[in-house]
């Protein structure tokens, strides 16, 4: 039996941000995660945008947290070495009907206190974004909409929390929570049982199932699938800003934007489904993205796609972001309805949750020696020639390029494996250093990554997984 003060359930963006915020205090924290790696489910398959909250429903917790989070990212990303760019978003009106909606959208932005949203003429927008549909009548400019590396964001939260004493139990599914006299007592996982004072449910897609374990199932999670395309860095038609559609009553629509690493991203669809596991893409979904994005960017070339994926937003029924605590269940915090704005609001959710608990009597002192900075994995491809030369001299493995599409070296892969909360699977390597994220999708580097993982972890290639248990990359030796 492990003992701790706080168990955080789920190592997605919200769980890791909450854990990191807690690690600023003299309090013992364990994060439990069913997957083999930090990074969550929804947190690793989304549009990778840090929103401003301009379009949130005003006067809601979601609006409050998203609007608050956006300005916090400059410092966070500088401290934790997270790729982040403030490229801004444009919201072009193509039809007269859309043009008439602009004032209401701007009005809503102001009600959300996003005061830097402004009108642009069609000509101004075309100058900013030459690939835009020339029929554009005008639109809005939302300068603080930003792009981030969502994988690194969550890894950075987790690594920084770990550096400050938070323990992580991976491959550990929560199977039960016990209470005693209206207080949280233990959390049972598939690997360990933990005695704890607090439980913070950050289980995203599965937060309803966790809530049910303590009899607080007042809602259901509805998985809303979003399918995406990633296009080659060389694709002929590119945009420099996040190009957002004007939302309809039914959907927020499909966008196009650059990723932080220079690919183009288009999507997502929005499809409610019963399954929390089905993350498949469909021919229909992908076709609808093509059709819709062409309204905004007519020359978008989806044939230049290098990968397609889908993510599940943990929507809530009844809808809305909720922070819940109950008088009759001391020590239990429930977060639900963390959906497409979840990546953004993870940061402010961390501070919000801790503040709420402190206000309710948690007796936690600030740490004197909180480690504020995290150093990411050095990116060989982004160094100058002189820096690259220096790197190879210090460590010859920087001279061994493994992933040729993204120019990722063996030294970077070894760092990904051996750093705290290091990579144990092919996908975990990919999310840390981008080996296999290029146009050949691991065709060349995949076989080498399997060999490196097996060598470094001291196991057979047959034991190397793509991600979770059962996803073995290969079956054994031929000889």
């Amino acid at each position: 039996m492990l003992k701790t003060d706080v168990v955080v359930i789920g190592a997605g963006a919200v769980g890791c941000a909450v854990a990191r915020e807690l690690s600023k205090y003299e309090v013992d924290v364990i994060v439990v995660e069913k997957n083999e790696d930090v990074g969550g489910d929804a947190s690793k398959s989304n549009s990778a945008i840090i929103h401003t909250g301009y379009d949130a429903a005003p006067d809601t917790l979601e609006s409050q947290l998203v609007v608050a989070a956006n300005p916090m990212y400059d410092e966070l990303c500088a401290d934790l070495d997270i790729p982040f760019k403030r490229i801004g978003a444009i919201l072009p009106a193509i039809t007269d009907e859309q043009f008439e909606q602009l004032p209401a959208i701007k009005e809503k932005a102001f009600r959300n206190r996003v005061y830097d949203v402004e009108y642009k003429s069609g000509a101004e927008l075309l100058e900013m974004e030459p690939e835009l549909n020339p029929a554009v009548k005008g639109g809005l400019w939302i300068p603080r909409e930003s792009i981030i590396d969502p994988f690194i964001l969550v890894q950075a939260y987790a690594e920084n929390a770990y550096a400050n004493g938070v323990r992580f139990l991976l491959n550990s599914k929560v199977e039960g929570i016990t209470t005693e006299n209206g207080k949280i007592k233990t959390v049972k996982t598939s690997t360990e049982e933990i005695e704890t004072t607090y439980v913070i449910n950050c289980a995203g897609l599965y937060c309803d199932e966790v809530a049910e374990m303590v009899g607080k199932a007042e809602y259901k999670v509805v998985a809303r699938k979003g399918q995406f395309f990633i296009l080659d860095k060389n694709t002929s038609c590119q945009v420099e800003h996040i190009v957002l559609p004007i939302p309809t009553k039914i959907t927020k629509g499909k966008l196009m934007c650059p990723t932080i690493h220079g690919n183009m991203l288009v999507g997502p669809t929005a499809e409610d489904q019963d399954s929390k596991l089905d993350k498949s893409t469909s021919a229909e979904g992908l076709a609808s993205i093509t059709t819709d994005v062409r309204n905004l960017i007519p020359n978008v070339n989806v044939r230049d796609t290098i990968t397609q994926y889908s993510g599940l937003r943990p929507n809530r029924n009844p809808e809305g972001l909720n922070f819940d605590i109950w008088d009759d269940l001391e020590g239990y915090v429930n977060l639900s309805g963390v959906r497409s704005t979840g990546l953004t609001l993870s940061l402010s959710m961390g501070t919000f949750v801790v503040q709420q608990l402190l206000a309710r009597g948690a007796d936690w002192k600030r740490k004197e020696n909180f480690i504020k900075k995290r150093k990411g994995i050095v990116k060989f491809s982004e160094c100058t020639r002189e820096e690259q030369d220096e790197l190879v001299k210090q460590n010859p493995l920087y001279g061994n390029v493994i992933c040729r599409c993204e120019t990722i070296t063996e030294a970077e892969i070894l760092d990904a494996i051996h750093r705290p909360l290091g990579a144990r699977s092919v996908d975990a390597v990919k999310r840390r250093v981008r080996a296999g994220m290029g146009r050949c999708q691991g065709g060349f580097c995949g076989p080498k990554v399997i060999e490196i993982l097996a060598r470094e972890l001291g196991c057979s290639p047959a034991d190397i997984n793509k991600n979770n248990d059962g996803s073995n990359m290969v079956t054994g030796f031929t000889r």
């Binding site: 498949s280 397609q308 120019t407 290639p461 979770n468 248990d469 054994g476």
Partner: protein, 419 residues
């Protein structure tokens, strides 16, 4: 930064780079340096352990290692030099510098008099043809699986479906079968075989592996490892007929759905690319739009026979050496090669027609399979060369040789239906 000087720098030590290096050396270039990212020369042939190479060139049926082994031996004899385990990061055609990196020397700047691009190609992926479904383990390109099985001693799966009836797909079907896997079927989108009939007989029919022509994989299933695929027939527009899709159980899917010239370095160097071949446009000397840069092999256009690669690479090496020695100048009369009826692309894309007694072989692929045809090269109405073929198809490269003295304008190639 480490600095190296040479006459001809060759990027890539596969069959193209090796043949170019030997030819450059034989032509008189003093220092010929091959930059190779692998730990040994040979390129993709290192994993092509099957026979079928060298029938034209050596009149013998060699395996990949035997074929490139002969070139490695010759390269050693003539004094070709290598930098192995070396990745080229950048080619600058204005300064003739190649920046590369290796564990041994760190960042290295190779200053050359001429450069030969011989980087080969890569495989189109599952994502490249947008096959929907989940993203489990067990989805490989045929070449990646071939590397694992033939070089790394690693078996990729037990029950396999292969998409694509090209030679690599079929050869992997046999290879996996010999290694104890069950190959459930080979699925081909077109209504004809993409590779050689001989491979169908020896790789599929010999082992009773079904070939599903005019079918495709419409969806991949499985959350962790592949559990199966949906295979559906396609209509005459190549669109899957969804309600006829059938579930096929398997744990592995291999994609053998085409090769793409690997031209990231070429593009970054600002060298003109032919949009059809996706490779640099070249003249008969295999010279690109940057006069000091030559290119050969699959980086120019994807070949079906390595024998052809060796031939055109020797040309690239020979003229790169001449360029390095200042012997490839003079007045230029450049004509274009134009695709006519049922011709998808032509290589070379231009011809320098000022050579008095020169001959140029035009390599090309057809758009559609056709029977009883005549291949014709012409300048306007003047016929330069012709050849009868019983059958042509997009999978097999055609060629015609013309004399440069006959060329007085753009050269058009047609595939004409015989009456």
């Amino acid at each position: 930064m480490y600095n190296v000087n040479c006459d001809v720098a060759i990027i890539g030590g596969g069959p193209a780079g090796l043949a170019a290096a030997i030819a450059a050396k034989k032509e008189g270039a003093e220092k010929v340096l091959v930059l190779e990212r692998d730990n040994a020369p040979g390129g993709i042939l290192q994993q092509c352990i099957h026979p079928g190479f060298g029938l034209t060139r050596f009149k013998a049926e060699l395996t990949g290692p035997e074929y490139y082994g002969r070139f490695v031996d010759e390269a050693k004899e003539v004094g070709v030099e290598y930098m192995l385990d070396t990745m080229v990061l950048e080619v600058c055609n204005e300064t003739n510098e190649v920046v590369c990196t290796s564990s041994r020397y760190g960042l290295t700047c190779v200053k050359a008099k001429s450069i030969v691009l011989a980087m080969g190609c890569r495989e189109r992926t599952r994502a490249g043809i947008m096959v929907p479904g989940t993203r489990p383990a067990g989805v490989y390109t045929a070449g990646a699986a071939q590397r694992l099985v033939n070089r790394q001693n690693i078996m990729v799966g037990k029950k396999v479906v292969i998409l694509g009836s090209g030679d690599i797909g079929m050869i992997m079907a046999r290879r996996m079968t010999l290694e104890g896997a069950q190959v459930v079927m080979v699925v081909e989108l077109m209504d004809y075989l993409a590779g050689l009939t001989r491979n169908r007989v020896q790789c599929l029919d010999d082992f009773g592996i079904p070939l599903k022509l005019a079918h495709t994989i419409t969806r991949i299933e499985g959350n962790e490892r592949v559990t199966g695929v949906w295979v559906a027939p396609v209509d005459d527009k190549k669109q899957p007929i969804a309600d006829k899709a059938e579930f096929v159980e398997c744990d592995t899917v291999l994609f053998s759905v085409g090769l793409l010239p690997e031209n990231e370095l070429t593009r970054k160097a600002g060298i003109a690319i032919d949009p059809v071949t996706n490779g640099p446009a070249v003249n008969q000397y295999m010279q690109t739009s940057a006069p000091s840069v030559f290119a050969c092999g699959n980086v120019v256009h994807v070949n079906d026979l390595v024998d052809n690669v060796s031939e055109e690479s020797e040309r690239a090496g020979k003229y790169a050496a001449r360029y390095a020695m200042g012997k490839l100048d003079g007045e230029k009369k450049i004509v274009k090669c134009v695709t006519g009826r049922n011709v998808r692309y032509l290589c070379p894309q231009t011809i320098e027609a000022n050579e008095v007694d020169g001959k140029v072989t035009l390599y090309f692929r057809v758009l559609q399979p056709e029977e009883n045809v005549r291949l014709v090269a012409r300048c306007g109405d003047t016929q330069l060369a012709k050849c009868k073929e019983f059958r042509v198809n997009p999978g097999e490269m055609c060629h015609l040789t013309v004399a440069t003295k006959d060329i007085d304008g753009d050269v058009t190639v047609d595939v004409v239906k015989e009456d």
